[in-house]
């Protein structure tokens, strides 16, 4: 059977690895290539690289990182951040990424998802959705790294994204991101029950039990995290062992 994926996220800015709390309070957490090599040695299932570099001139550092990592590591890589054109996607795939994440531009121009899926196949296109809680069991999609409200409901937007050709959805809780207090299970549940593509849950993991909850209680097909690996003594091997003991099917 298919294994539940545990996916470390590497957030990059100007070629350095950083970490935020609720998309704010940015901290430097080291060198991304070295971190990726450590994750590779731990046989992680996949890595996600997200670039939040603001200026175009500094974007090449992101490509350098991807290229360096893919020269020596033979595992699945997903990369994204600020992609606006089919050419942007092609450049990342040529640098060695297998899948890309689309976010802000997909909301502004949903046909971008279709253009990308037609060209590269929908298995290659992950639509990443950032959401904030706005009321009891109510959520709203934010774009532009949490700065701009859209009025969209995450589950409804996820359905639209899949109709446009998304092969996978990543759902991030802005409220929980970086807090390490656990996933927003209600948000994840709303998205997993709305679509028939794999859903990656992200935002809030602080213990391996949080991963179990996201899969067992909210239906996530994969779980992604960063802080737990940066700031605790947890690593993907230990976390997978915990998930296995909890009855989830994970890689050995």
């Amino acid at each position: 059977m298919l294994k539940t994926r545990l996916i470390p996220i590497l957030l990059l800015k100007n070629g350095r690895m950083v970490k935020t709390i609720q998309f704010d309070k940015l901290r430097d957490v080291g060198h991304p290539v070295k971190a990726a090599m450590v994750y590779d040695a731990q046989n992680v299932d996949e890595l996600i690289f997200l670039d939040i570099t603001a200026t175009e001139e500094n974007r090449s550092t992101f490509f350098d990182v991807i290229q360096q990592v893919t020269e020596e590591s033979f595992m699945p890589f997903t990369a994204g951040g600020g992609l606006r054109t089919v050419d942007d996607i092609r450049a990342l795939l040529n640098a060695g990424a297998d899948k890309v994440t689309l976010n802000t531009e997909a909301v502004r121009r949903p046909e971008f998802i279709t253009e990308a899926a037609d060209r590269f196949g929908n298995q290659c296109i992950v639509v990443s959705i950032d959401a904030r809680r706005v009321g009891y069991k109510k959520y709203e999609v934010y774009i532009n790294r949490g700065r701009e409200a859209t009025g969209l409901n995450p589950a409804a937007w996820a359905q639209q994204a899949v109709l446009h050709g998304a092969g996978e959805i990543m759902i991030t809780s802005i409220d929980h991101e970086g807090t390490m207090e656990g996933f927003d299970l209600e948000l994840i549940q709303q998205v997993t029950s709305a679509v028939a593509v794999p859903v990656i849950a992200h935002g809030g993991a602080g213990t391996p039990e949080h991963f179990v909850e996201a899969v067992r209680d909210a239906g996530a097909h994969a779980v992604a995290a960063a802080s737990i690996f940066h700031f605790t003594d947890q690593n993907p091997i230990k976390a997978r062992a915990h998930m296995k003991r909890a009855g989830l099917d994970v890689r050995r």
Binding site: K3, F74, M75, P76, G96, D98, D118, V195, A196, H221
Partner: protein, 209 residues
């Protein structure tokens, strides 16, 4: 020399990097002369079946590949979409003819409960000892998959391995000098490198008849 056939379908860098790391002399090319002079071929690919066949046709590569694979019996490893193209036909956004080197049809996953695409690590179940599976630990045969379509065939003799996703589907085929994997060895860490190393050393036995 191993030639990775470049026909505009997806990420070739990983296959190149992996073979290169293993010490192979590799070239990535869409030129008929590089294909004709190769000792081994890799046919990678992600994307849609119809476009892939169009791209091979437009580059004039189909007759070259037929000559190398069917007549000269050059070992070829076909990966993911590449493996699907080995079949006679595919039903991805229409009906398209494949290379037809093995019996089979490529169809969409028909699942009610499980999400499609099938993305992630899954265990493969070997049908018989095959040269490219040599050295894989029996306790760990996990490989990385990412696909929505899979090959179906009534020719049991070519099924090298299957995997389970809602039902059992063919994930590797082997016929004479042709080996195909639905999973991505170049993305499957140590298991993948083992398979690629086996491919580099694969001596195809002439068919007995």
């Amino acid at each position: 020399m191993i030639t990775v056939v470049d026909y505009g379908m997806g990420n070739l860098r990983s296959v190149y990097n992996a073979l290169n790391l293993l010490g192979a002399e590799v070239c990535v090319s869409d030129k008929p002369e590089d294909i004709l002079s190769a000792d081994r071929l890799v046919l990678p690919g992600v994307g849609a079946f119809g476009r892939a066949m169009d791209n091979l046709r437009q580059r004039g590569l189909i007759s070259v590949l037929n000559e190398k694979v069917l007549h000269q019996k050059t070992p070829i490893l076909a990966i993911c979409l590449g493996m699907q193209l080995l079949a006679e036909e595919g039903y991805e956004h229409g009906h398209f003819e494949g290379l037809g080197w093995i019996r089979g049809t490529v169809r969409h996953f028909e699942l009610n409960q499980l999400p499609v695409p099938h993305v992630g690590w899954n265990e493969i179940m070997m049908r018989a000892e095959r040269p490219l599976f040599k050295g894989l630990a029996s306790s760990n045969r996990e490989f990385y998959f990412v696909h929505s379509y899979h090959l179906t065939t009534d020719d049991q003799s070519i099924i090298a391995a299957t995997a389970d996703y809602g039902y059992e589907f063919v994930c590797a085929v082997h016929h004479e000098n042709i080996f195909g994997t639905q999973f991505h060895p170049e993305k499957s860490q140590n298991n993948g490198l083992t398979l690629l190393r086996n491919f580099m050393q694969w001596e195809v036995q002439p068919a007995l008849c």
